[in-house]
């Protein structure tokens, strides 16, 4: 058996735990195989437990564990970093609980906060840098830690209550869909629920960056006066929140 064949067989054993796979490994004694199997599964379940502490509290220990086992059985890890294993858990939750958007959004919040925590560093824009900006051609650079998502439920309130260890509200649909944004300010990850229009223009800015296009979009939606005023207030909010890290 070649090294590659042995390693593919070992992979099959770890993923399936089948006797057939164990028999194809060419090991002298099989008592140790169980140790590797336990290490493999324990490591992955432990990764999910650590990455989704709030989801775990929200759905309960047993339900979470069953979901984690489903995830381990269906999605073998692929990245060099164990942290990446948690990235697909939200999809597993969607498959297992398709009628629970509050849970899906809670999982998105928790995963995004962890990603934002280790996103690339970027210095917030200084007020002095605004003095020389030509706003007609300016392109805003948003912090690389910014992550955006549609909000349809009160998941932000659920997450906040779990974080603050206060009474956790029941999951509810929002009267109107909005947005969730996650970013890092200094070394602290932040979460904020925003209106749908702010989410829309942030997503456009992430792709395009042109402040003039942002103004056009807001004027189109809100009219000339209110649109321009909203552009100014959003810009002030984003600068204060350290969401903007550069203007080209």
């Amino acid at each position: 058996m070649t090294l590659a064949q042995m390693q593919h067989n070992f992979r099959a054993w770890l993923v399936t735990a089948s006797d057939t796979a164990a028999g194809q490994l060419g090991t002298v004694a099989n008592a140790g195989l169980a140790v590797y199997q336990n290490n493999y599964r324990g490591q992955l379940v432990g990764c999910l437990e650590e990455a989704f502490t709030h989801v775990r509290r929200w759905i309960g220990e047993d339900t979470f564990r069953n979901a984690a086992i489903t995830h381990v059985d269906s999605r073998p890890p692929h990245s060099w970093t164990l942290d990446a294993y948690a990235s697909g858990f939200g999809e597993t939750l969607v498959e297992l609980f398709p009628r629970n958007p509050d849970l899906h959004e809670l999982a998105w919040i928790e995963w995004s906060l962890s990603q934002s925590f280790v996103a690339a560093d970027a210095e917030p824009l200084s007020p002095q840098a605004l003095a020389l900006v030509d706003w007609d051609t300016a392109r805003l650079r948003l912090t690389p830690s910014l992550m955006c998502h549609v909000a349809t439920t009160n998941a932000e309130r659920i997450w906040s209550a779990l974080w603050e260890k206060t009474e956790v509200p029941e999951g509810q649909m929002l009267p109107q869909p909005g947005g969730l944004i996650v970013w890092r300010r200094g070394f602290t990850s932040r979460l904020k629920q925003v209106e749908a229009l702010e989410l829309e223009v942030l997503l456009e800015l992430q792709g395009d960056g042109r402040f003039a296009a942002l103004c056009d979009r807001l004027v189109e939606r809100l009219g000339e006066a209110e649109g321009i005023a909203r552009a100014g207030s959003l810009l002030a909010d984003w600068l204060g929140a350290e969401l903007i890290v550069g203007i080209d």
């Binding site: 070649t2 390693q7 090991t27 140790v35 990245s79």
Partner: protein
């Protein structure tokens, strides 16, 4: 890779997040710390910031768990690029990983899986080490892992494999004394034969840790203090190797820092006894 890592004979600890505050706000009496490389191979944020602060106070060794030098697929270039970026910034005392594999065909086990001690595996391991060392521009250290099974078709012992690997690649070694003890117990070999069989002049670092008794085998759990049998094997190791950078690893049930420092003092005491014996003084 003909350049060797510097000789360094201090005493250190594996730095874990439970002790960040101690290391940042107090003077901790260690000669170096070792961190898990992958925990800091991130784009930015607090982890890298903390590591930079720690580096201003202590020499730092980077110890990886995901290089997978035994992989038949070769090495992950993105992984190497990130490790080089970290090493270039931190200027570590050592960069190390394990004689093991974890990755094949796009799958990553996130465990230190055993390498069969065959000529084919030796060729592959040496090719991978050479690629890693060339990319990093420095010799690495590789650690003997604990293992729980052996393969049919093995043509050499673990220590013969390690000696050949070091000779062919110029890499240096971490001697994990606890892993020698665990594997010797699990596979029925003589731990002293292991110590005699590895090239002493290549050992740059010693790891000490605790293990647990499993159903049939000893398990390398890093969740308890170093046991007396491992301390005895450590004393034997330093009598053979001389002064070598020594550290204690603890990854689970992590106690207060003072407890680990007390354990480290035991290593210092054994090192002092060995030094006196070398000078011909009575213990």
């Amino acid at each position: 890779m003909s350049v060797s890592n510097p000789l360094f004979s201090g005493y250190g600890l594996g730095l874990r997040k439970e002790h960040y505050k101690d290391f940042l706000e107090t003077t901790v009496s260690v000669d170096f710390v070792e961190v898990i490389s992958e925990n800091f191979m991130v784009e930015g944020g607090q982890p890298r910031h903390i590591l930079r602060q720690i580096r201003e106070r202590h020499p730092v060794a980077l110890h990886g768990v995901s290089m997978s030098i035994g992989s038949a697929d070769g090495l992950d270039r993105d992984y190497l690029r990130r490790l080089k970026s970290l090493a270039d910034e931190i200027e570590p005392l050592f960069v190390s990983d394990h004689l093991s594999w974890s990755r094949i065909g796009g799958f990553n086990s996130h465990d230190l899986l055993p390498v069969p001690y065959t000529e084919e595996a030796l060729d592959r391991v040496c090719a991978n080490i050479s690629m890693a060392q060339d990319t990093l521009g420095r010799p690495m250290l590789f650690e003997n892992p604990s293992s729980y099974l052996t393969f049919e078709g093995a043509v050499m012992s673990e220590w013969e494999f390690i000696a050949a690997m070091a000779k062919r690649t110029g890499c240096d070694l971490i001697l994990d004394v606890n892993n020698v003890f665990v594997s010797a117990s699990n596979h029925g070999f003589d731990a002293l034969a292991f110590l005699d069989g590895i090239p002493a002049d290549r050992v740059r670092q010693i790891h000490l840790a605790g293990h647990s008794q499993g159903q049939d085998l000893l398990i390398d759990t890093h969740d308890s203090p170093v046991c007396e049998d491992v301390w005895a094997l450590y004393a034997k190791a330093i009598s053979l190797l001389g002064p070598v950078a020594t550290m204690i690893e603890r990854d689970d049930d992590i106690p207060p820092l003072a407890d680990l420092l007390a354990e480290l003092d035991k290593a210092r005491h054994l090192g002092a006894l060995d030094a006196r014996a070398r000078r011909g003084e009575a213990a």
